[in-house]
Amino acid sequence: MQGPLIDTLARRGVTRRTFFKYCATLASLMALPPSAGRAMAEAMAAAPAASRRPSVIWLPFQECTGCTESITRSHSPSIEGLIFDAVSLDYHETLMAAAGHQAEEALHHAMKENEGKYLLIIDGSVPLGMDGAYSCIAGRTNLEALKEAAKGAAAIVAMGSCAAFGGIPKAKPNPTGAVAVSDIIKDKPIINIPGCPPIPVVITGVLAHFLTFGSLPEMDKLGRPKAFYGETIHDRCYRRPFYDQGKFAKSFDDEGARRGWCLFELGCKGPVTYNACATVKWNAGTSWPVESGHGCLGCSEPDFWDAGGFYKALSMPANPLKMVGTAAAVGAAAGVAVSFANRAKKSAAKTGHETTTLADLEK
């Protein structure tokens, strides 16, 4: 891409006004002051010649490419996708034209040229099993690649639940020994953008923040940007009044489901899931899982695959109560055993009874 981003956008029919509105929206979504919107617009609009735009290196590990799909596979050349015009995306296996040795060279060149300054984006988990052999690129394990790339990165974005928390590969029994980026790298700022996949505007918002301010936005205890992961789905869900009234869909497509009642009983993990789906929604605000009639899976939370089951309500036991029958039997048996011991003791006391006479009242 050549020239300022704003010109590129103009060529694609996106007016200056629309662009400014977009940046203002982005800023307000992240709870930043109005001045930040303007700053974002100016920073991105002015995005200079390619060589001086911030370098972004995107390494894919044990991933499904869904995160890339999310941000790029938009229904029209969307603003989200254009963020990549504001940066210099120096390495992205799915999007780049190069392959093979050329691709490897581009990677190492970018890392060397921008040492200490590039933004490293990782999607997919890092397998540790079999010394990392489960996922190798160009003959090197993901683990090695991560450690090397992290050394020169200014900051790391763990894109998607796999990179952020280990994701699907980590689900029991975790055959590849998958772990999160933050389990490996301890000495660089890491921001987690979980979701399976993450919402496009969340990715954009974080990148925009980085581009504008040179730093990562405020994060919660799990390293997620508070602007997007600060509230639970449950607290922003439009079906919440039904939860509070106790109106639940009991099965898919039943009366309650058709009336748009709460999906808690069908396993919705909204109450324990932090994400922006309920407000920002998907497909440029078209809809989101609950609105489509399916409970939230909790995909932006660690270990969501092993949280007891997508269709098991939070109030239900995560696993069947296996020990209960045996425990009851053991309890009853213990009681019976004690009752026999008690019977024997009482009997012995009776047999040993020494009739009290008057003399026996004195010690």
Partner: protein
């Protein structure tokens, strides 16, 4: 262990252990207590309407007539009623709880709106604090109280407090608060059969025996 794993553990393994120990303990203790039996009363009985074990089982839920007991110890009665009824309402009429019971037994019934349960929780918490204060301040209660009394108060209080805090999003993130709530309930379940909390099961037998022995004499207690 992260919060989600903690929550999944308390919902899974933790619950399994707690419910198992609970059932084990309840059955063991019930048999241990009631297998001692009692000798048949060979004296000639009196039969008076309203004087029997069954009558007393239910009648004893209200203060005895005309003895001015409520005035003598209002906190015992009023505080006691409020928090017991409050606990029952919260446990049995809050949707997520009903759902849990349904998953364990197959039975379910309509619940109360969450805002009502919220109010009931606040009142219950208040009542429990008042009851605690009374135990500290009143000479007889203080005199009788042992570590077990304070511990069982805490073990009963924590589920109500943590449940309410979770819904209100106080102190810790919801996922953690919910996990702590479930954990506190598991603690309650585990200690219940082995402490004075077991009165939930034995008071029926006690009232029955009392009513039967006195009913034999024609006195309605």
């Amino acid at each position: 262990m992260n919060e989600m794993q903690f929550l999944t553990w308390v919902r899974g393994t933790g619950l399994n252990i707690a419910v198992s120990i609970f059932l084990l303990g309840v059955l063991w203790r019930l048999v241990e207590i009631y297998s001692l039996g009692r000798k048949k009363d060979l004296s000639a009985p009196r039969s008076v309407a309203g004087a029997s074990g069954w009558n007393t089982m239910f009648r004893r839920s209200v203060p005895p007539k005309g003895m001015g007991m409520v005035k003598k110890s209002p906190v015992s009665y009023i505080g006691g009623y409020v928090f017991h009824i409050g606990l029952a309402l919260i446990v049995f009429l809050f949707a997520p709880h009903i759902k849990l019971i349904e998953s364990l037994t197959g039975l379910s019934w309509p619940g109360l709106p969450s805002q009502v349960i919220d109010l009931v929780s606040v009142i219950t918490i208040g009542a429990m604090l008042v009851v605690l204060a009374d135990r500290i301040n009143k000479p007889v209660k203080r005199y009788l109280s042992t570590f077990e009394d304070w511990f069982t108060w805490l073990v009963t209080f924590l589920p109500v407090l943590t449940g309410w805090m979770a819904v209100q999003h106080l102190l810790l993130p919801y996922t953690t608060m919910l996990a702590l709530h479930i954990l506190s309930v598991e603690l309650l379940l585990i200690v219940l059969p082995f402490t004075k909390l077991f009165h939930a099961f034995t008071l029926w037998g006690s009232r029955y025996y009392n009513g039967a022995v006195n009913g034999h004499k024609g006195v309605a207690v």
